[in-house]
């Protein structure tokens, strides 16, 4: 049989052991999601300018389970996955990467910006307390996006996703955790506190939605394409994507946090253990915590930034800009989607942490629907 490689938790000297003798190579390969940086890659250019390190940036991640399936065999074989830095969401895949020892323990002595600028809540996230392996890239919410011209009305509730009037025009996500969460909201359960019995009920509700032909398709990142094409009229969506799509396609899509609630997730930067340029990767990680970089990023992606100081930077940018640009920059600085207030945070729910054993049951429950 094939050996399992469950790793022991890293000890303190592992960090030194790993980083000892590692040097900068002047290059870094960065794997990220689409729509997670402006088209001109402004932050990366700034990074290259500042450090001389060139960046190969690829938008190769569009769903967590897929990405994990893709890299796990390589990591297991001890081979490079072709990337030194990647953005992975909290959730079962992150847990697995961690447990299998596929991630490099971070040398915090080389992350001064993080130490200085990261918001407090991001230093003690439950999935990686103490940021042993990861530091946040952006966080965001999963809500509902829709094209008001098509739906003909405001969308406010999760239940709208079950509205037979939108038969065949509703998009749902195929990631078991994402769709599971929405199922849970639909039956009035907080995902983070759900039980296997709740999963069953939520699945039944989702199955009903599918059986009635309301769901067009279960999407990954491609929901945005479908929404723009008009294949779907309303869909589960990630907050910042809509902002960017409207910007680039001149579309008029809307994003709402449904009244039943929405989930908050964190996409973190991490270094796979087979990385060829870990030092350069670590430098880039830290670079994202410069308030200026964080501001530029927030201006273009409209996700929640882990750097509160970015707000001032954006306001400063807005002051310099004029007309429509100024207005939009001001909006961003005030947007609850970028800088949520504590009250906002209260409305948001978190992913349920699943053990490997639970994961199988959870996945089977919801994949049964998405893989119909």
């Amino acid at each position: 049989g094939v050996k399992g490689q469950k790793a022991a938790p890293p000890k303190q000297n592992d960090v030194q052991k790993y980083w000892a003798g590692k040097t900068k190579h002047g290059h870094v390969n960065f794997a990220n999601w689409p729509l997670y940086m402006d088209k001109a890659r402004t932050p990366l250019k700034a990074f290259t300018k500042a450090t001389g390190i060139t960046v190969t940036y690829r938008e190769v991640i569009s769903e967590m389970p897929q990405w994990f399936g893709k890299i796990a065999p390589q990591l297991q074989a001890g081979q490079s996955i072709g990337y030194d830095l990647m953005v992975v969401t909290n959730g079962v895949e992150f847990t697995k990467l961690k447990e299998l020892g596929y991630l490099v323990p971070l040398d915090h002595s080389r992350l001064p910006n993080f130490a200085k600028y990261a918001a407090e809540i991001y230093r003690k996230e439950s999935f990686d307390p103490g940021n042993v392996f990861s530091i946040p890239y952006q966080t965001g919410l999963t809500g509902i996006a829709y094209d008001p011209a098509k739906t003909g009305r405001e969308i406010t509730s999760i239940q709208d996703l079950w509205d037979p009037a939108f038969k065949g025009k509703v998009g749902m996500m195929s990631d078991p955790q994402e769709i599971g969460n929405f199922g849970m909201f639909a039956i009035g359960v907080d995902p983070e506190k759900s039980t296997p019995a709740d999963w069953k009920r939520a699945a039944a509700r989702l199955q009903e939605q599918k059986s009635k032909g309301i769901v067009r398709k279960y999407y990954e990142q491609d929901y945005i394409d479908a929404l723009t094409r008009g294949d779907v009229w309303l869909t589960m969506a990630w907050s910042g994507d809509i902002f960017q799509q409207n910007l680039s396609e001149k579309s008029n899509l809307k994003f709402v946090i449904p009244k039943e609630g929405a989930t908050l997730w964190t996409d973190s930067l991490m270094i796979p253990k087979t990385a060829e340029n870990p030092v350069d990767a670590l430098m880039l990680m830290d670079f994202f915590y410069l308030p200026d970089t964080a501001a530029k990023l927030a201006e273009s992606v409209n996700y929640v930034t882990p750097v509160p100081a970015a707000k001032q930077a954006i306001e400063a940018d807005a002051a310099k800009a004029t007309g429509a640009d100024q207005k939009s920059l001001q909006q961003i600085a005030e947007s609850p989607l970028v800088f949520p207030s504590d009250a906002d945070y209260a409305k948001l729910r978190h992913y349920r942490t699943l053990t490997t054993a639970e994961e199988k049951e959870y996945n089977t429950t919801f994949q049964h629907i998405t893989a119909g």
Partner: protein, 275 residues
């Protein structure tokens, strides 16, 4: 006599019996051809679309600019280069290995021929998903990381049998006496192969190689299992499609299409001239 006398007026009509069914079939054939070519036409057309945003969905005016910015999507270029070089290596590899097998199968009877035929039949008709998956299992088992060379291995594996089958059927039509004639006239085994057998089976080798090239450059399913983090043209398209394909894809698709057509037409013209 079963023949009935028909009045004289329709004499000329009788001489040339009606062919309406032919005309119907003719129209039908063209309909199918148009259907087959429609997506290609669209692909080519939207390579000239002056798309403003990220999505190349609606006609926004004519432009050549994508031809100018053909290589401005760096990954796409890499993927295309990968696809081309992999296809070339796989073509040469499978052409050589397949030709040898085709020769053996066509010219000799030997023990194990049946099993070889069976394996080849299986390799030709096994579902791609299964082949891709099993090769992946194999690499996983041996802890071999996937990448460029595992794609090459897979491509040679699945095109090999096609070349062998093509070459074999050509070898079967060869008069074995021709090889003997060469030997009779003083040629050694290798000289006879080089000067006589190879030139005669060359059209089949070429046809097999073209097929291998086409199979390789177009393969998606098996490649997707064994590519690791290496991207090929179809894989890139598959990935990129999730947030809209840039017009450069249309342009590259068009260029590959045109190159393929030219290659095939050239080959046909050459074959005709040789004949």
């Amino acid at each position: 006599m079963t023949a009935t006398v028909v009045e004289d007026g329709s004499r000329t009509a009788r001489r040339a019996r009606g062919r309406w069914s032919d005309r119907l079939l003719y129209a039908y054939t063209w309909l199918i051809i148009i259907w087959l070519c429609l997506p290609i036409a669209v692909m080519i057309a939207f390579g000239f679309n002056d798309a403003k945003g990220r999505l190349n969905l609606t006609w926004q005016g004519f432009t050549f600019k994508w031809y100018g910015q053909l290589f401005s999507v760096p990954d796409l270029t890499t993927a295309l280069v990968n696809s081309l070089t992999i296809a070339l290596i796989a073509t040469v590899g499978s052409a050589v290995l397949g030709t040898l097998i085709g020769l053996a199968l066509g010219r000799y009877r030997f023990r194990g021929q049946g099993s070889l035929n069976l394996v080849q039949f299986a390799a030709i008709s096994a579902p791609e998903t299964v082949m891709g998956a099993s090769l992946l299992s194999f690499f996983v088992q041996l802890n071999i990381g996937r990448g460029y060379w595992t794609i090459v291995i897979a491509h040679i594996m699945f095109s090999l049998s096609f070349v062998a089958v093509t070459v074999r059927s050509r070898v079967l039509t060869l008069d074995p006496a021709i090889d003997e004639a060469a030997r009779d006239l003083g040629a050694t085994g290798w000289t006879a192969f080089r000067l006589v057998t190879l030139p005669m089976i060359f059209p089949a080798v070429l046809a097999g190689a073209l097929l291998a090239f086409a199979l390789s450059i177009d393969d998606f399913i098996i490649t997707s299992f064994n590519s690791g983090s290496t991207l090929t043209f179809p894989l890139w398209i598959w990935g990129a499609q999730k947030n809209g394909l840039p017009p450069q894809v249309n342009v590259m698709g068009t260029l590959i299409f045109v190159a393929g057509v030219l290659l095939a037409v050239g080959n046909a013209v050459l074959a005709r001239r040789r004949r």
